[in-house]
């Protein structure tokens, strides 16, 4: 079963028929596993990794370190939720170390991202401080190196 998810995590476009061929499981079994996983949100969504730079309108991104005041009973969860519900927040992780929440914020311009941080995030109740790091270059996204590509360097025929 685990194999089905490994395969889809690497390539969402692989069909149930192909997954069945790759794993030796029956197609029906693969289909029902996927349906079940979609229903209970084990599979959250199917998306595409895009190198926006090639389109010439790369969004501005910033990694924001946020220090949070934990709250009685709910810890960081309530404050985190108030932050991650903003659509500008692309990733949000609770982390160990000198700050608590790492979020990736996306906007159309430096100004837009800066304004979002200073006007929306920083003033939120429970937020004790932020540090903003603008992204200068994206090398690798979700396990995929963006530039170059790995063309086949092998000789076309070898014994």
């Amino acid at each position: 079963m685990r194999q089905i998810f490994d395969i889809l995590a690497n390539d969402a476009r692989v069909t149930p028929e192909q997954v069945a061929a790759m794993t030796g499981l029956s197609e029906a079994e693969v289909r029902s596993t996927i349906e079940e996983a979609e229903k209970d949100r084990t599979i959250v969504k199917y998306k595409t990794i895009i190198n926006w730079e090639k389109l010439g309108n790369e969004p501005v991104m910033a990694l924001i370190e946020i220090r949070l005041q934990p709250q009685r009973d709910v810890g960081f969860d309530a404050a985190a939720a108030r932050i991650y519900r903003y659509p500008q927040v692309r990733f949000a992780y609770l982390v160990s170390g000198t700050y608590d929440l790492a979020v990736l914020v996306e906007g159309k311009s430096l100004h837009e991202v800066g304004a979002f941080v200073s006007e929306k995030l920083a003033p939120l109740e429970g937020v004790q401080g932020t540090a903003t790091h603008f992204l200068l270059k994206r090398y690798k996204e979700d396990g995929e190196v963006l530039e170059g590509g790995e063309e086949d360097k092998r000789l076309p025929l070898t014994m």
């Binding site: 390539d11 192909q18 794993t23 030796g24 086949d152 092998r154 000789l155 076309p156 025929l157 014994m159």
Partner: protein, 388 residues
């Protein structure tokens, strides 16, 4: 002037794929199922270890036998995995791939006219290396009816007073066949009974699916007569690093080392450093790649059978060896016509021996999308030429 080229070379046929190679290289848009190596680059931690060693100035010769740290790691690996004891000081030799190991092995044991029994089809170098050593290759036919396994009785039937050794290589290139422990035990019995040596090429040993790897030398009573050849090329995607090894009793390794020290001196140091990293920490990546091959293998074998190229289930290496007789073509004709008409490159089975006739080798160490596109093209091709 006498002939410029030694007469010995006349006995060795030119490689069966030379003309395909030239043809493929001149064409664009070819999907090649004709390679004999992984499509993954070497895992980065291995490459990085080698880069670091180069930066540290490790660019010199190593001892003829290879770096002692690598030999110790290999000895410990063989002990843990197969409970085999080899002394890293006297019973292991690091070679330039299994290719050199094979050459050393046959040259170390053959006198002119000595016979070596080997399967047909088999890896292209087997008969040639024996001929270079003035030995006589004796081929044992194998077929898909028996999953291209080497039958002990067929070996026994070809033993003469000149037979010196049996040369096996399982999991097999080009067939993908494996020999289960029982099959190998039968070969071991024959070797013991007739006092023969065994050269066992186990370069694909870690690439097995739904079965456990078996090391021939670990079978009862054959370690002393066996030269085990293995290496890092396939399982760790390290073909270009050229690192293999030979494990055998001290007299054999001494004989092989004698040739090696004068002809190769040593295996490349950067490759040896990389191999140390591979054997110490490469297993998770090797396992990941093997799992990936397994998925592609299933797609390839099912696909070939679906389009009418019957294919037994290969349980090792990364090759499928389907029958193409449904098209009425010879292997060469099939490979050449398929390449010209559909731009899919496969290797004719006859490149690996006469018994490869009626088959082609399809390597599935390529992306799933390549495999599927190749299968689509081959389906169209087979439909066009199929003789019902």
């Amino acid at each position: 002037m006498r002939n410029r080229i030694a007469g010995r070379l006349d006995r060795i046929p030119p490689s069966g794929i030379r003309k395909f190679f030239d043809l493929v290289s001149s064409m664009g848009g070819v999907i090649s199922l004709g390679v004999g190596e992984p499509d993954f680059p070497t895992p980065w931690h291995i490459t990085e270890a080698a880069i670091h060693s180069l930066e540290q100035g490790y660019t010199m010769y190593t001892s003829n036998s290879g770096m002692i740290e690598l030999r110790r790691e290999i000895a410990s690996y063989l002990k843990t995995t197969y409970d085999l004891d080899y002394d890293p000081n006297t019973e292991l030799l690091i070679t330039n791939g299994v290719s050199e190991g094979l050459d050393l092995a046959v040259r170390a044991i053959l006198d002119p006219g000595d016979e070596v029994i080997m399967p047909d089809p088999a890896y292209v170098s087997y008969p040639s290396c024996v001929l270079f050593a003035d030995g006589v290759p004796v081929r044992v036919p194998t077929s898909c009816d028996n999953q291209f396994k080497l039958a002990a009785a067929d070996v026994e039937a070809r033993i003469t007073s000149r037979t010196k050794a049996i040369l096996i290589g399982y999991p097999a290139n080009p067939t993908g066949a494996v020999m289960e422990i029982g099959d190998l035990a039968d070969i071991a019995d024959v070797a013991r009974h007739h006092n023969l040596m065994v050269i066992s090429d186990e370069i694909y040993n870690l690439l097995v699916y739904d079965t456990e790897p078996v090391c021939f030398a670990s079978l009862p009573g054959v370690k002393d007569r066996t030269i085990l050849l293995a290496g890092f090329s396939k399982a760790y995607a390290m073909t270009g690093w050229r690192i293999g090894y030979a494990a055998a009793s001290a007299d054999l390794i001494a004989a092989m080392t004698k040739i090696h020290q004068y002809t190769a001196l040593c295996a490349p140091i950067m490759g040896q450093v990389a191999a140390i990293e591979a054997i110490k920490a490469g297993e998770p990546e090797a396992r990941r790649m093997t799992q990936e091959y397994d998925r592609r293998r299933r797609v390839m074998v099912k696909g070939l059978n679906d389009i009418g190229l019957t294919c037994f289930e290969p349980k090792g290496a990364f090759y499928a060896f389907p029958s193409i007789t449904s098209t009425g073509m010879s292997s060469e004709e099939f490979a050449e016509t398929l390449l010209t008409e559909e731009k899919v490159a496969v290797v004719p089975g006859t490149a690996f021996g006469q018994c490869g006739e009626g088959h082609v080798r399809c390597c599935y160490a390529t992306s799933l999308s390549n495999i599927e596109e190749a299968l689509t093209r081959m389906a169209r091709f087979v439909k066009k030429y199929r003789r019902s």
